[in-house]
């Protein structure tokens, strides 16, 4: 689905990412793990084309997206939910969803991607169904987190980049986010999520890449990571 070859990125003169290689298969949930500042969010932004300077080869759904602008990448079927959520505070829930609306898409083999409607999303996130006309700025952190995922799904993506979905929200919502990811996987979508919390990653992920200082230090299945306490203590525990 997505293949990333020697991806590097810079903020100003500072290099943040060093030749990352990673793959996300169709229908696969992959976790990018690492401590604060390891480069997880920057990887996501770089894939989305939101970093001013980046290098590397990015292939998605059979096409090259290395030189595309963010909107073109989104139109290819990459959905991005940022860590800071970036809800349009003045727009209502329905309006936020409408801004995310895009035409239906197909996978490279011609199979249609799941198409989302506000109704379908309200079934997935019942909390949002209760407040269709509430402005985004007057929602709790957890509600905003759901809205940002729902807004991304309105674009009918094939792959969702989920940046820290469990960060700063109540345990109940964390559980709901995990269920959502499992649900997306069932629909046939791929998910690349960044995560610090191994308990959350364990619930949903098939494979894991471990990042430290902008480089990938370990990769393997979730089960392999679970069986490897050394990697966990070296790169993940605080």
């Amino acid at each position: 689905m997505l293949s990333v070859e020697s991806l590097s990125a810079w903020y100003g003169a500072a290099r943040i990412l060093f030749d990352l290689n990673l793959e996300v298969g169709r229908g696969e949930v992959v976790a990018l793990m690492g401590r604060n500042g390891a480069g997880k969010s920057t990887t996501m932004k770089a894939i989305m084309g939101l970093v001013a300077r980046r290098q590397g080869v990015l292939r998605f759904n059979g096409g090259d997206i290395s030189r595309m602008k963010p909107y073109e990448i989104a139109r290819r079927g990459v959905g991005f939910t940022p860590e800071d959520r970036r809800i349009f505070a003045d727009l209502t829930v329905m309006e936020n969803l409408d801004v995310g609306r895009q035409p239906p898409r197909r996978f490279a083999d011609g199979a249609p991607a799941p198409a989302w409607t506000p109704g379908k999303l309200f079934a997935l996130f019942p909390n949002l169904a209760e407040m269709p006309n509430r402005p985004g700025g007057r929602m709790s952190g957890g509600e905003q987190q759901m809205l940002t995922v729902a807004r991304t799904l309105m674009g009918n993506p094939l792959l969702v980049l989920l940046d820290e979905p469990s960060e700063g929200v109540a345990p109940l919502i964390v559980e709901q986010m995990a269920n959502t990811i499992v649900e997306l996987k069932k629909e046939g979508l791929s998910v690349l999520l960044s995560e610090q919390n191994i308990h959350f990653a364990r619930l949903v992920s098939d494979r894991v890449y471990v990042l430290e200082k902008g480089e990938i230090h370990w990769q393997g299945t979730m089960a392999a990571l679970d069986a490897n306490p050394d990697v966990q203590t070296t790169y993940l525990t605080v």
Binding site: P70, F88, D90, L91, E95, D98, V99, G100
Partner: protein, 630 residues
Amino acid sequence: MTLNAFLFQALNGLSSASGLFLIAAGLSLIFGVTRIVNIAHGSLYMLGTYIAYSFATKIGGGLGFWGGIIATAIVVGMLGALIEFLLLRRIYRAPELFQLLATFALVLIINDAALYIWGPEDLLGPRAPGLRGAVEIFGRRLPSYDLFLIFVGPAVLLALYFALARTRFGRLVRAATQDREMVGALGVNQAILFTSVFALGAALAGLGGALQVAREPANLATDLIAIGDAFVVVVVGGMGSIAGAYLAAVIIAEVKALCIGIGVVHFGMFSVNFSKFTLVAEFLVMAVVLIARPYGLLGRPQAAVRSVAEPEDPIRPATPLLKALAAVVLALLLCLPLLAQNSPYLLILGIDVLIAVLFATSLHFIMGPGGMHSFGHSAYFGLGAYGAALLVKWLAAPMGVALIAAPIVALGGALLFGWFAVRLSGVYLAMLTLAFAQIVWAAVFQWEELTGGSNGVIGVWPPPPFDKASVYFLLALVLTVIGVLLLRRFLFAPFGYAMRAGRDSALRAEAIGIDVKRVHWLAFAVAGCVCGVAGGLFAFAKGSISPETISVGRSIDGLVMVLLGGIQTITGPIVGASVFATLQDMVMRQTEYWRALLGAIILFLVLAFPQGIVGAVAQLFGKRRKGQTP
């Protein structure tokens, strides 16, 4: 004033408010989405009047009057789309200051284009069919066209409101106003969105201008008047707020209408003519609003725009080579009176250049190291010049006294205006400084008894031996060198470090104990004071001073000088001012269309040399040095 007259005047105000609203709404929409303050918006409005005139009198037989108005809005909208496509698209990531200058360059070019196409005469269009009469209201006759205009504003306000609230385009516009990057990440092509918003804003300005055709003649001065008014309206109402723009348009128009309505009032021995306060009044309203609500009546603080530019290099002391070069140049300048005995023109040019250097260096002091982009530096130039000239005129003060008074008067003005200005930043600061400069200009222009109004003050000649160009040149040289060295000394003192720290991170600077506002306020005052010397020198060099020499054009000249040289170094403004003043004296006055030429130069600079002449040279050498030592 009777109640009836008062109400009638209020109606007059409402009909002017509609025009103000149309132009301000477009400006506000464009700023909200693209974050560009389009100074050329007044020019689009002016073009609207001219194009509507042409439609009505020449082309538009088939369209009729109203068809011509609509056609004008469409034509101006398409022109706006073209401007966005060809120019603005290239500078969305450039620093704010460059965007302001680029759109100002368009003002110059459009103005000369209009001069070329329609000529310098005022052009009065036909009256609107069906609305030629007048209606009797409150005992006076109100033209029915004005009555019609009263309803245009609210009608457009409602239409815009529904478009923004109920259409997908409107939702995208509102979303992009808050976070345009996120809108792009959701798959929306920002380029198309930006172009269409710019076209819509331009069409509104064109419509506003076109509707004036039946009321006022098309005039080449409309562009700057309209943009000044629109700035005030948008800032008072709150950037990006359409409802705020209407509210502010009504307030400003009413204040102006009432000033005219009140007329001359006698307070015991004094009589005050309020109709002369129209220019000052609107800027006073703006200053009051900005102080009480820095983001306008219905505005809200703008989200910090994510900076994409690389951080500036720190200012370093000049290298020995540069110092030696400066010494050689100085020595040559000292010998200039001897070398140029047979060409007095060279000395006059030299004096102009020195005054420009002092003006530009003082502006650079607050712009570069201070990070405050003043669009009203002419105020302190004007205060210095008028301070000196009026002392000579009314008190017959000798030149020495007048030249000492010039910086003191400017210092007073800078202390007063600066106190307000340092409380704002970015485009709001740019507009507030512009407003203060307009207040100074308006006071000088309208206070005829003291300042001679538009005729200015004449007969301010220096006494012997300074009446000889060579001696006056040396005086200007000495004062300029002292001024520049003084500013340099400030920059390399702890005060200068504090100033730059406050610019780069106000929060962190305050956390280590720097009172950022106070430091920037003092910097503002120092710059104003030095600028006052330039003003004083100017008055005696020309023997006269008039309002037009201290108008907004001079402020913009200063900005161009600083950018031309480059904002990152102290050498920048000196080189920039010298090049600019020489060009202006030698080349630009040769052609009738020098404004368009200046505009083209600014556009070229902004697009090709975003770091200025000195910056480009430094970069060239810097690259070479890096290449030698890999």
